[in-house]
């Protein structure tokens, strides 16, 4: 592979934002027919490098060549035209447009200048079929879950006749099946000679697909390595820049005595809560100190369960009892009053308030619960915020920067902090580790265990089954927006059994997963 000339080189790239040096003298090469992983902690500068490359940001210094010729894109439009196709971190599509249009906008098939809508839909369907997706392509994209949107974004990128394909954390919200699908296509494209730049925080995925790895740390280049020559441990050390001890995986402590936990009145008891078109009525009990995992495939309705429980969506019927007394959790505010917290998977649309500072974003839920008349004293705010900025290693560590300026992973940590300071009795975490680097991910997992040891109940949703298994006392399995099973996390439970539960009785089209 490396004997050919690089299709893309970036030399001496530097980029500063007010108060932050996001990139400093970074070099990067990309060869045709390789999958190149760009690795680094949250805020290391991966996304910035990609944005500099595609002209979203101007460089302060440095040069870029494509096929040996110097280029300087003025924006994604030019980059795309030159054959650099990008899926940026966070879904960057227009939710008001249809699925098909999101895939083809900007390069619709036309006849005499008129968009051929039939053709657009037909091609979109075909393209999605390649990704194993069967969607109504003329429905607005916004009616689909974030994971689907992510897949649509990928579909858009791979359709472009590109020489360079850039994927910034495309897998963060995908489940194993979808990831496998994506990798199959990536390999296919690689074999066609396309150069792929791939960002992820999943080490397994890197070793599964990447040919080479470039590591960034704190905006600086650490090095470029063939995957084969860099063992996992070495990679992590290069990323975090110190010896690895934090990473002693958390022992599978969670397999404690479920029966003991489940004594007494449950903290939350849900009976036949449901919403037409979203989730079939389900029952669920969660006890104090219990971690309930929610497993299921993409779009199986996990998020919908969480939203119903939190009152973010109105349920059609069913009851929720908190501490044994039936309560109404019809709005988020009511749920929060009852001690429920909900960290949404869609951090951009439902999580952060971009203009507000890190501090304000963190105290938002707590302040809302106290009412506006009782502001949290500034000293207390600073204490709380400092504590979690440190605990979660939020960078930059300045609580007064607008949260919009943080890297994706750091934004996620801010959201987590928002809910942690409210000290809820039941915390619903929907993909909390999405887009979070390996160090922080372990931190969060540790945190969840600590919290549950301290008596907090957690509803934990994650696309990573291992993570769910490691943390949960009990796993509820979703299939087709139905809660099909609740399995105690004893020694008998593993990923395979969950997959089987999901698969048994599922529809034909899903059998190959």
């Amino acid at each position: 592979m490396t004997d050919s000339r690089p299709v893309l080189t970036m030399t001496g790239i530097s980029k500063s934002f007010p108060g932050v040096r996001a990139l400093h003298d970074v070099n990067f090469r990309l060869f045709p027919g390789e999958v190149h992983a760009l690795m680094g902690e949250n805020g290391a500068g991966k996304s910035t490098l990609i944005k500099v490359l595609t002209g979203v940001y101007d460089t302060d210094e440095g040069s870029i060549t494509l096929d040996g010729a110097p280029v300087s894109f003025s924006g994604p439009m030019q980059a795309t035209a030159a054959g650099v196709s990008t899926v940026y971190q966070e879904v960057n599509l227009c939710t008001n447009l249809s699925v098909a249009e999101n895939i083809f906008i900007g390069r619709e098939p036309r006849l005499l200048g008129a968009v051929r809508w039939g053709e657009v839909r037909r091609r979109a369907r075909a393209l999605l079929a390649r990704l194993d997706l069967d969607l109504d392509v003329s429905a607005p994209l916004g009616s689909y879950s974030l994971a689907i949107q992510q897949m649509v974004a990928i579909a858009r990128a791979i359709d472009i006749q590109a020489r360079v394909l850039i994927l910034d954390e495309p897998t963060s919200s995908l489940d194993a099946g979808e990831v496998a699908q994506l990798f199959r296509i990536m390999r296919q494209l690689r074999d066609e000679g396309i150069a792929i730049l791939f960002v992820t925080h999943f080490l397994d995925q890197v070793y599964e697909i990447a040919d080479r790895i470039t590591v960034l740390r704190n905006g600086g280049l650490v090095g470029e390595y063939p995957t084969a020559e860099l063992p996992q441990l070495g990679l992590v050390e290069k990323m975090i820049g110190k010896e690895l001890d934090v990473l002693e995986g958390i022992e599978e402590h969670s397999r404690r005595d479920l029966a003991a936990l489940e004594e007494g009145t449950p903290l939350v008891a849900v009976s036949s809560l449901g919403r037409a078109g979203a989730v079939e009525p389900f029952n669920l009990t969660i006890h104090a100190g219990e971690v309930v995992g929610l497993a299921g495939l993409l779009g199986s309705g996990r998020t919908e369960v969480a939203r119903l429980l939190f009152g973010a969506d109105r349920a059609d019927g069913g009851q929720v009892a908190v501490d044994g007394t039936s309560s109404s959790l019809r709005t988020p505010a009511q749920a929060i009053d009852q001690g429920v917290g909900f960290c949404s998977e869609n951090r951009r649309a439902e999580g952060i308030v971009p203009d507000l500072s890190v501090r304000e974003n963190i105290i938002l839920a707590m302040q809302a619960a106290r009412g506006w008349l009782r502001p949290i004293p500034r000293r207390r705010q600073d204490e709380l915020v400092d504590k979690y900025v440190k605990a979660l290693n939020i960078r930059p560590a300045d609580p007064e920067v607008p949260v919009r300026n943080l890297s994706g992973g750091n934004q996620q940590k801010v959201l987590l902090a928002r809910w942690l300071i409210t000290e809820p009795r039941l915390l619903i975490l929907d993909e909390p580790t999405r887009g979070i680097d390996i160090g922080a991910k372990t931190e969060i997992q540790k945190l969840v265990t600590q919290l549950s040891d301290g008596g907090m109940a957690v509803l934990f949703i994650s696309a990573e089954l291992e993570e769910v298994l490691r943390l949960s006392h009990k796993v509820a399995v979703m299939r087709d927006r139905q809660m099909v099973a609740q399995l105690a996390n004893d020694d008998g439970l593993d990923a395979d059994r969950i997959m089987q539960t999901i698969a048994s009785g599922s529809h034909r089209e899903e059998e190959d997963r």
Binding site: V56, F310, A312, I336, A349, P354, D355, L356, A365, R370
Partner: protein
């Protein structure tokens, strides 16, 4: 050297620097045109002079713009403020004019209370339309903008109601400690709104609702209430502004009072740095914006720019103001002048941020 340079930079980087600079330039231009422009003298224990006029005349606009700032910050807009001024003024003046003793303080207070009561109701009406029924703010408030002026004229029966009430007149023209009362009222309102929003958590909550309504809802904010409150506040501010406008000329003109004030108020808010898309708001910027607008109007009079060209003149100034205000515009010049631009001003707005 380095220190002064740094201080200069923080000053220039400050949000209010450029609007303030514009104001200063306008005042300077006036002073050059007429050296006595800035002079203030003490007449009968009152301060008297053009700067005082500007302050006094901008008081109603400041009030309206304060309420507007909060509404805009929630992601809304209130077009009905002009009508609200007319209605409140009309009610107050109408009531006073019907009383045998127009100079009695209780009469005036009753009038104010009645008008404020109606303003509360109308503000609540707007609030319900936007926050509860979910009508787009511009249309929801357009209803009252149209109908409200009709209401005001209905109250006055299309006449200009002239009153002869010293206490009421004082709202617009009275003096306390040599300063016009109107200025003090506006100042008090600004401090009150400032305290209410910045001393409590209300400000942050408003900004949060305006910045991302769905995220705020999921964080437990009852955004409906916040939005509702914003419209009520705006109505009350407009009502007080209506008192000032009518007191200033001791008469209520249902047609002319507060005409186009909504545009001026929005302009003031935007000049002050608050985005029409909602989110962060800046009360001090709004006040500065209102002063700029009033100074501009006064300049037209003071320089006796002919009515035929005064609109052109205003347009040119407004264009200049917004250009100078825009970091992207300044960046072009900074970049041209110095090869190594200070990062604080130049990269302020990465290309990615496209305003809605």
């Amino acid at each position: 050297m380095n220190d002064t340079m740094g201080r200069y930079r923080t000053m220039v980087g400050h949000r209010l620097f450029w609007p303030a600079a514009v104001l200063v330039v306008m005042l300077a231009a006036n002073t050059v045109y007429r050296p006595g422009f800035l002079s203030v003298e003490l007449k009968d224990g009152h301060l008297y002079g053009t700067p005082i006029d500007i302050l006094r005349l901008s008081a109603p606009l400041i009030l309206v713009a304060l309420g507007m700032t909060v509404v805009i910050s929630t992601g809304g807009i209130d077009l009905s403020v002009g009508s609200m001024c007319a209605i409140s003024g009309a009610i107050a003046c109408m009531y006073i004019s019907q009383q045998p003793d127009q100079n009695s303080l209780p009469v005036v207070l009753t009038a104010l209370a009645m008008a404020l009561g109606v303003a509360l109701v109308l503000g609540a009406w707007n609030g319900v339309l936007v926050a509860v029924i979910g009508i787009q703010p511009i249309i929801a408030t357009l209803i009252l903008m149209v109908a409200g002026r009709g209401l005001a004229q209905l109250i006055t029966e299309g006449q200009i109601i002239t009153i002869n009430s010293e206490p009421y007149r004082a709202i617009g023209l009275g003096h306390v400690l040599t300063l016009p009362l109107a200025i003090l009222i506006a100042l008090a309102a600004a401090l009150l709104v400032g305290a209410f929003t910045r001393r409590t958590a209300l400000g942050m909550i408003i900004e949060s609702v305006g910045g991302n309504a769905e995220a705020s809802r999921l964080a437990g904010i009852r955004s409906g209430r916040v939005i509702f409150l914003a419209y009520v506040l705006s109505a009350v501010c407009a009502a007080v502004a209506g008192f000032m406008m009518t007191a200033n000329v001791s008469s209520a003109d249902g047609n002319a009072a507060g005409l186009w004030v909504e545009l001026d108020a929005i302009l003031a808010v935007v000049i002050g740095g608050t985005s029409l898309a909602g989110g962060r708001f800046f009360l001090s910027g709004t006040i500065l914006g209102a002063l700029i607008i009033q100074t501009l109007t006064t300049t037209v009079y003071a320089m006796n720019i002919s009515p035929q060209t005064s609109l052109l003149f205003k347009a040119v100034v407004v264009i200049a103001v917004c250009l100078i205000q825009a970091p992207a515009f300044r960046a072009r010049f900074t970049r041209r002048r110095s090869s190594a631009p200070p990062p604080s001003t130049v990269t302020d707005s990465p290309k990615e941020q496209v305003p809605a």
